[in-house]
């Protein structure tokens, strides 16, 4: 296992390099306004622009510029997304501060939605699999189809319209300045975002659980379990589900990690000041250090989650042994 972890960590570093490099190249290639000029404003002297360019390091050769950003990849305090380089062109705030400042909102959104989609998706998947071809199964699969096909922004506006505008059940979107995340949660400001975000995932998970469970229930060891005289409930849960859920756990880790990088659309539509919203703004402003920072942040967590779920798999499935 130790050898395996070392190997995976090395690959993780490689992945981060590649991601950052590609992001860098995209920005280099994109026709964009000179950030130095944009930073200092229109009517300034060329000296000021030059000074800004120097401050941003834009006068150095490309590979040096990249190297400066690459230093920020190292997940070590003082180096990771360090302030010298990762400094927003647009609002002059260190990227790190922004991301970590906004992280609680994104976390609240992600964890809440994740809990909801597990609570909805998995039971629906189980019922569907156990009562195949019944009305429950058909209903569940229709739900799954809708959930997977409906675009998040459409759902978001639909829900806002119904539950906030018309029925006035939900509070308005966004988090007023001064409200802490905790307060916002208690005020119910996250309820609609949770519902919207979890719907798509719930649908997907329902389908996955259904498929896996149907397959598992057809295995020989289920027949053995029944032959032992176990109750059907025990057969389904302890024998069938236990095996069927293993790939679901893997998926869940990855999905959750992906959300840490920000649920872009949901945060934007509901005006939640999370990492996703920050990323969207940064992209529109062509604020390179911010974009790079968020990308690396997200990539790091996804790569880490990848590693963790693979390791977890070895604990869940005794047949899997890493060397």
């Amino acid at each position: 296992m130790g050898r395996y972890l070392i190997r995976r960590t090395l690959f993780m570093i490689l992945v981060l390099f590649i991601v950052s490099l590609i992001t860098f190249i995209i920005f280099v290639k994109l026709p964009a306004a000179d950030p130095a000029r944009r930073a200092v404003g229109r009517a300034t002297s060329p000296e000021n622009v030059e000074a800004a360019r120097h401050a941003f390091g834009l006068d150095r050769p490309l590979y040096v510029q990249y190297a400066r950003f690459a230093k920020g990849l190292v997940p070590w305090p003082g180096l990771f997304l360090n302030e010298d380089v990762y400094f927003s062109y647009a609002n002059f705030v260190p990227v790190k501060e922004e991301i970590f400042g906004r992280l609680p909102v994104t976390l609240a959104l992600a964890i809440g939605a994740a809990t909801l989609w597990l609570l909805i998706g998995i039971p629906i998947g189980i019922i569907s699999a156990v009562r195949r071809r019944s009305i429950w199964d058909r209903g569940a699969m229709i739900f799954a189809l809708i959930g997977v096909s409906a675009p998040v922004f459409w759902l978001a506006y639909l829900f806002l319209y119904i539950f906030w505008f018309k029925l006035e059940w939900a509070p308005p979107s966004g988090i007023p300045i001064g409200t802490s995340v905790m307060e916002a949660v208690l005020q119910g400001r996250f309820i609609l975002p949770w519902m919207v975000l979890s719907l798509t995932f719930a649908a997907f998970y329902a389908r996955m659980v259904r498929g896996n469970l149907i397959e598992t229930m057809g295995e020989d060891y289920i027949r053995t379990a029944r032959a032992k005289g176990l109750s059907e409930k025990r057969v389904i849960y302890r024998h069938g589900l236990r095996a069927a859920l293993t790939p679901v756990v893997t998926m869940f880790g990855l999905d959750l990690a992906g959300l840490l990088g920000g649920a872009f659309i949901t945060e934007t539509v509901f005006n939640l000041p999370g990492v996703g919203q920050y990323a969207v703004n940064a992209i529109f402003n062509q604020d390179f250090p911010s974009v790079m920072g968020v990308t690396i942040f997200g990539a790091f967590f996804i790569a880490l989650a990848n590693l963790l779920v693979d390791v977890a798999y070895a604990f869940l499935d005794p047949r899997v042994r890493y060397t």
């Binding site: 050898r3 070392i6 190997r7 090395l10 060397t323």
Partner: protein
Amino acid sequence: MSVEVTERAEPKPEPEETPLIRIRGLRKLFPITRGILFQKRVGNVHAVDGVDLDIYKGETLGLVGETGCGKSTLARVIMRLYEPTEGSIEFEGRDITHSTGRELRDFRREMQMIFQDPFASLNPRKTVGAIIGTPFRLHNVVPRNKIKSEVQNVMELVGLNPEHYNRYPHEFSGGQRQRIGVARSLALKPKVIVCDEPVSALDVSIQAQVLNLLEDLQEELGLTYLFIAHDLSVVKHVSDRVAVMYLGKIVEMATGQTLYRNPKHPYTGALLSAVPIPDPDLAASKRRIILEGDVPSPIDPPSGCRFHPRCPNAQFPRCSEEDPPLEPHHPGQVAACHFPLEDRAIIEAEPAGSR
């Protein structure tokens, strides 16, 4: 068993004839690797570990053994589906051990294979005609417009209706699909056909049909067979000579009858004892040799004679230190054992009167 039969003492044909296939010192090892970034070889799977074999034209050589004995790997190495790690393979006097490209392709026409699983070995998206016709297309031995009629000839030869040319594999039964596999292998009129467990996946009543077909084809077309199976009864029935394999080596070889009457290697004895006989009285008079333990893994074979950990006859220290060579016993029989079994059959018939 009431009729005394004078059996041929030698394997057929006569030993002075040059073998069609000659194998010397064949080894095939599969590496096991470990490492962080760069994989390093830490061990080997000794799939085939030193085999000398001669196969004569027109004979059926049976290869029998259990899981991990290497019989399937041996067959695939002979067919050059794998390249040997060591040793040599000669076909009709030509050394094909390391041939590639053109030479290998030409050799492929002479030696074909039939596989075990009639469901998995046929491409479900191709029609029967296309499946059997592929060898023709690949080797350009017959003009394009003649391929179909050739294919239909072959179909008839194996007992398939030529009008089913355009059907798909799933429309046929298991036995028929195996016939398709046979037809495919016959397309290029090979000299040798390697049959890898050709009837194991078939029902008993169909097995006999396919075995008879193989026998008929051998007579009609002058084929040579290498017949691999784990079922000793089947192997003995079809083969002229039988080679018993254990952990990558041949431990005994003789005609089927000699093997049955006078096995020399204790493993052969155990195999014979283990095969269930559909005759209660005969079964009751069988000598019971039940081995301890499981079939071992070819990753780390035991020292000396590989069979010594499970051998009821083993004597130490010789058996755990010295690997016995194949030595002759009865005419046409060789066995690799320091303390071979005495002359006695495993299954001795009761005198007449008990039925």
